[in-house]
Amino acid sequence: MNGGRFLVVVRSNLKVFVRNPAALFFTAILPVVFLVLFVSIFGNERSKEFGVKVATLQVPAFIALAVVSASFVSLAIGLTSVREDGILKRVRATPVAPWIVFAGRIVTAIVTAVIVTAILTGIGALAFGVAVPTHTLPGLMLALVLGATSFCALGIAYTRLIPSEEAAPAMTNAVVLPLYFISGVFVPTDQLHNLPGFLRFLADALPVKPFVDALLKAFNPHTIGAGIAGNDLAILAAWGVIGLVLAVRFFVWTPRHQAG
């Protein structure tokens, strides 16, 4: 398969994505609504801990939400759906290499992540005075690419546990929604002090908070250097590898409802 064909796969994925109202809403529209509501309700004061405005904390927080939607949520639900429809079974019967199918999804998620990041950053900058990352752009891009890839790998692996198309949205949200609360998405990072010890441990060990923190480092105007959050990105990458290994080992191509 040459590059042109791979591009066809990515373009098809993007078309499916923008024509799917649910995916588009949760990834592109909801994070913007959340950002505007959040800053409107809680104000845009300066955080004592970070010395930045609330919006500067929340733009990366909702970018994280959008990227997790475009990768983990989108793949867990989308791949389950095409698996149950027998589309994956049929793809498996073609000469295409499996990694092309998954790489196509990951590149689609990265493209989506970059676009929603641009939208949220633009709104943050214009409406709430958020500084646009410039010298920290390498850190931002690295976090986006690594985040989208790792959460895609986890989403691909997670489909193994989802028995049906109907179960997919609930099972996926059951994982990500609580994580958003303990990882500084719905509750600003500087308000997480009251978190019980074990929840704090959980948040630090699971991939959402490291992702939020890595993005925050890139958006924090006090950051010196390229904004690359080594520890956070290492945790994120580790989860990506775990997801990849589980996906390669356990991924199922045929519908579960006609297993046997």
Partner: protein, 303 residues
């Protein structure tokens, strides 16, 4: 050339736990023929097809599809197959053309998209999204997806189930066209008229065993029985009319089975004419493939 057979199966077996779903099936499908695989639900049809397609592993026997064991089929092998699954669906968000363009990218030397759209008669729907297609149109897209890789061998698993009669006729034209393209077609179907219309040869599987195999006309020809039916004339003595032939009376319709229909018919008509009786709705019916099929599958289970 070893490649003269598209499919060779000998003594194929498949067990699920204690249940043996396929019990020693042997078949040969020649290149360029349309082969219909018939049988009631649960007879082992889908199991056999999925073993041929490489989706399932067999428990015993030998299988060669295009000269390759499906359990070890590589990408070059898969490039030569086209598959229409029983429950085929496509991404509803894409148009017909976009779907074919995507699948085209999966194959090393595909057929042009426009040509494929023409083959399955979807020219007018080419830019409609899959979500807006009718059931018959979706099935035609399915067949298009099986053809986009320009395969040598096409598996069609119940391609017209759920079609209205007009859509079925249209699908038959498409499938018959595959023969003209030199493709080998392995077709499973519930519709006997479909097999009779399309297939060069048929095999009937029952309880995991092949119970009949051959060209449809030969299977039909193997049966010597012809049916003569007519409406029982009011007040007539049917026993007298039928002569020595045994007959059945069902809803006022007399049914006589004969292995020498010319003689039987002449005798009955002669007696009816002598007695001034008109035999309304008189019919002489050769058994169809459907009759043969029903006879075979309704017999006692294969031991």
């Amino acid at each position: 050339m070893a490649d003269e057979e598209a499919i060779e199966i000998s003594d194929l077996r498949k067990s699920y736990g204690d249940v043996e779903a396929v019990r020693g099936v042997s078949l040969r499908v020649r290149r360029g023929e349309i082969f219909a695989f018939l049988g009631p639900n649960g007879a082992g049809k889908t199991t056999t097809v999925e073993i041929l397609e490489g989706f399932r592993r067999r428990s015993g026997g030998e299988v060669r599809v295009l000269g390759v064991d499906p359990e070890h089929g590589d990408r070059d092998w898969r490039a030569r197959l086209g598959i229409v699954l029983q429950e085929g669906r496509a991404q509803p968000e894409l148009t017909v053309r976009e779907t074919l363009e995507l699948w085209q990218a999966f194959y090393p030397s595909p057929r042009p998209v426009d040509e494929t759209i023409g083959l399955v008669g979807l020219e007018e729907k080419a830019d409609d999204r899959v979500a807006r297609l009718s059931g018959g149109q979706r099935r035609r897209l399915d067949v298009g997806l099986a053809l986009i890789g320009d395969p040598d061998l096409v598996f069609l698993d119940e391609p017209t189930t759920g079609f209205d009669p007009v859509a079925r006729r249209a699908a038959w034209v498409v499938i018959g066209g595959l023969r003209d393209l030199g493709k080998t077609v392995f077709l499973t179907t519930h519709y006997l008229d479909e097999a009779q219309e399309l297939a060069d040869r048929v095999a009937i599987i029952k309880d995991g065993v092949i119970v009949a195999e051959g060209p449809p006309e030969q299977l039909v020809g193997a049966s010597q029985t012809t049916e003569i039916t007519f409406v029982a004339p009011a007040g007539a003595d049917l026993r007298d009319l039928a002569g020595n032939e045994p007959f059945e009376l069902e809803h006022g319709l007399v049914r006589i089975r004969s292995e020498r229909p010319t003689r039987t018919l002449a005798a009955i008509c002669g007696r009816a004419a002598e007695r001034g009786l008109e035999l309304e709705r008189l019919q002489v019916i050769r058994p169809s493939l459907e009759d043969i099929y029903l006879e075979l599958v309704q017999e006692a289970p294969v031991p």
